[in-house]
Assembly symmetry: C2
Homo-oligomer: 526 residues x 2
Amino acid sequence: MDIIVIDCGVQFPTEEMLGIDFVIPNISYLEDNLDRIRGILITHGHEDHIGALPFVLPSLQTPVYSPLFAHALIRAKLLEHPECNNAELYPITPGIPYDFGSNFQVTWFQVTHSIPDAMGLIIETPIGTVIHTGDFKLDHTPVDGKTMDLSRLASYGSNGVLLLCSDSTYAEVEGFTLSENLMQDAFDKSFGEASGRILIATFASLISRIQQIVDVSNRYNRKICFIGRSMVDNVSMARRMGYLKIPSDVIVTLNESKALSSEQVVYVTTGSQGEPRSALSRIANRDHRDIAIQENDTVILSASPIPGNELLVNRNIDNLLRQGAKVLYDKNSFVHVHGHGSREELKIILNLIKPDYFIPVHGEYRHLMAHAGIAWHLGVADKGIYVLEDGDVLEISESEAGVTGSVSADPVYIDGSLMLAAGSPVLDDRQSLSNYGVITIVITIDESQRKIIDNPKVLSSGFMGINETKSVFSALGTQVRESFSISVDVWDDLEIMKSKLKEIVRVYLFSKTRRQPIIIPIIKKI
Amino acid sequence: MDIIVIDCGVQFPTEEMLGIDFVIPNISYLEDNLDRIRGILITHGHEDHIGALPFVLPSLQTPVYSPLFAHALIRAKLLEHPECNNAELYPITPGIPYDFGSNFQVTWFQVTHSIPDAMGLIIETPIGTVIHTGDFKLDHTPVDGKTMDLSRLASYGSNGVLLLCSDSTYAEVEGFTLSENLMQDAFDKSFGEASGRILIATFASLISRIQQIVDVSNRYNRKICFIGRSMVDNVSMARRMGYLKIPSDVIVTLNESKALSSEQVVYVTTGSQGEPRSALSRIANRDHRDIAIQENDTVILSASPIPGNELLVNRNIDNLLRQGAKVLYDKNSFVHVHGHGSREELKIILNLIKPDYFIPVHGEYRHLMAHAGIAWHLGVADKGIYVLEDGDVLEISESEAGVTGSVSADPVYIDGSLMLAAGSPVLDDRQSLSNYGVITIVITIDESQRKIIDNPKVLSSGFMGINETKSVFSALGTQVRESFSISVDVWDDLEIMKSKLKEIVRVYLFSKTRRQPIIIPIIKKI
């Protein structure tokens, strides 16, 4: 049986995943079935759809098929991973069927979303058609004019679709998501009211937003300076590929921008999510090499915070206000439209396609459940609605369907150049270290005399301030000298002695400080 | 000159304040002026208004005056802090003027908020009246019937008010905040639709919400079981004091609840903010000793997440759904009304009081700015609107006002039983430890021979998995033996040798692993 893999994204670590860069799923099932994999099929170029490629391609060694813009992003990404330099990457053309093995014929189709070339997949199989929407909204007036291919979907719908997999991200949100096009009027208003420089932070891959900023800047005779590495890289790539149209006299360098009067400048920057090292956060923290906020600057956060980023975004807003900027953000202005379809859009897709089976995809569990609830109320997918967990195996035959088991898809943490399994004791240790710090205690013992022969040496990091540690550690040393010989009865087993020492230290420190630092006991024998 | 202190709250630590329990301001200015302090005046009993008392009372030794419910909460809180057992705590009666020194006469007045006995302050001074709203909303139909004393405010307003300090928390939110009373209908609806047990999570101090849950439970012939220590404690205190009216046959114990059929039970619990050790989070994680979710349970999160808590709350929702509960939360149902006034309410207060000067208080900088913007648009406070930072000193005389300086109010971190200054290197160390862990390296040197005489011993915690460390540490040991003698030229200065050793380890580990653990070097001499 052939295997196709749809998308290959990363998850971003949550607060408690200390030191972790990314989270990807365990792919051992795929590694065990390498010979059956016909390719990785990418819907669009966001990180949660392509970000895991550098980590899985070395072991999967399978070709990657992507819409053109995603293809370019993947190529750029893999350049930084020499272990992937023999990856087979193919751009696809929408509307053309591609064969993957003898079972799958796949046609990419245009959807509207917050990145160029977002696509869904029509997958013809021997037992029927599967439609996977990818991430989408129903934007009837997208900035690049490429509307969603609804007629194609409708014709498949009327011929009968076996299974629909549809984007659930906004299944909790009532109504319709607004068109990207509306941002034009919003920018017009804020540009009209701005008396000084304008700084706009948005997503570097949201090319249609950047196009609108370019257009309105042009109308207001402002020049644009792009700031932040991913913004500069993406803009340059999108221009080269024709996705972004900027007259060359509209772009200025940072130095040129400084020579312009403040009503002539727009800075477009990264940092709309409050990322600590982004250009906007540096500017907000008065820590940017080249740009400092001036009175009368208008800062537009053309984004809304992704859950988990609220505090970082809020901190930037506060710090920009403190420096005298006017700040437009989602709570006080119309600055952003979302990229995912709301409940009414999800209903349209469900009703247009009327699948036999439905799997809500892309979203957290509550989003999947909300989307399943919509399908249930519409009465579509009467053969079955499946809310699946990562790794679940749903088998569909001509006559029936059912979850028949699950394969391992446990989270794997990318930690620098290594991978850590979720639940690794390394992470528990980091948790303790982050709360209480670490104590190292070194004692030297004389086995024959069965005693400690010098003053225990205690060192710490992240435990308490240096003034507090002095007296605590000196008393701890005394305590250890007094209790160690009494509590140890086996003097030739280092491991037992170490755990006794650790226990003495643990109990003493907890009683004196109510803290539980990591304790590293070291015993030297003479 | 007399000093009065209004409220004495804690801030909760943000993500990067590792291991910190609370944040309070530096109070050295008050400590330097102990003889002038006439008292701490509390507006209401929320933690951000009373939580710092245990940490500042030992050094301030000043009486605390509070509305009755706050008074009871403070007494209960201080019982756990023996260092405060001689605190002078006085309950106040609203509407009666209290003298504080020769300059201040203060009258507490009733406001509506999300805790019983929330009050504002009318402060008569020799040069005019100061009104401080405390936290408030304008609820015309509060559950306890105690409406805000608007007529008193109006009469002060028409006599002239020097300065207004007004709650800014919701200064970004358009319109009016809904009445607490509306929750009655909302609960009626969800109780009517529930076919099994009902679990409701809300704030333990939101007594009027609990009263409504009691009332609707009574109507639906359900018994209530309270869960979670702070919920149980607050309910029992509020009943004793008459703030909460519960017929005694409506309350059941956990054991009694288990004997009831599922349509007869309501559990009211803490954990509406996703607090990891709360009852609701334990239930969501299948980790509660007594309660496990059943199919047909309805869980109502009668709260909305405080910024920063979104991910924890979302995780609970997902885990409850996974176990088959129906979950009602702010995104899919009407489950909560807020406790702070929105923009239209703030306008009413500003227009009713028409102060000469205005200080927006209680909120982050963007909220203060938004509130200042409202006052500006209304054209009130024409003598001056002051958006102040912590520590700023605003001086107002009969003829003029101005910020004349600032006193230290830097954040102080409460870390177990100790206090840490913000920016302490202890916190930087915890940050490094949390990302990369710690390495301890022990070498023994022979000074006379100028060399390392045994194999370096390397131990780690939170660095890498045990399998990866083995080869890295053995190679590190070799590296240290080879380079140490070469790089060290002074063999009698232990500090210099330690920093050389640290540097060798740092460079080697970074080149091999791209990580920067905390390194604790230990050198033994023989």
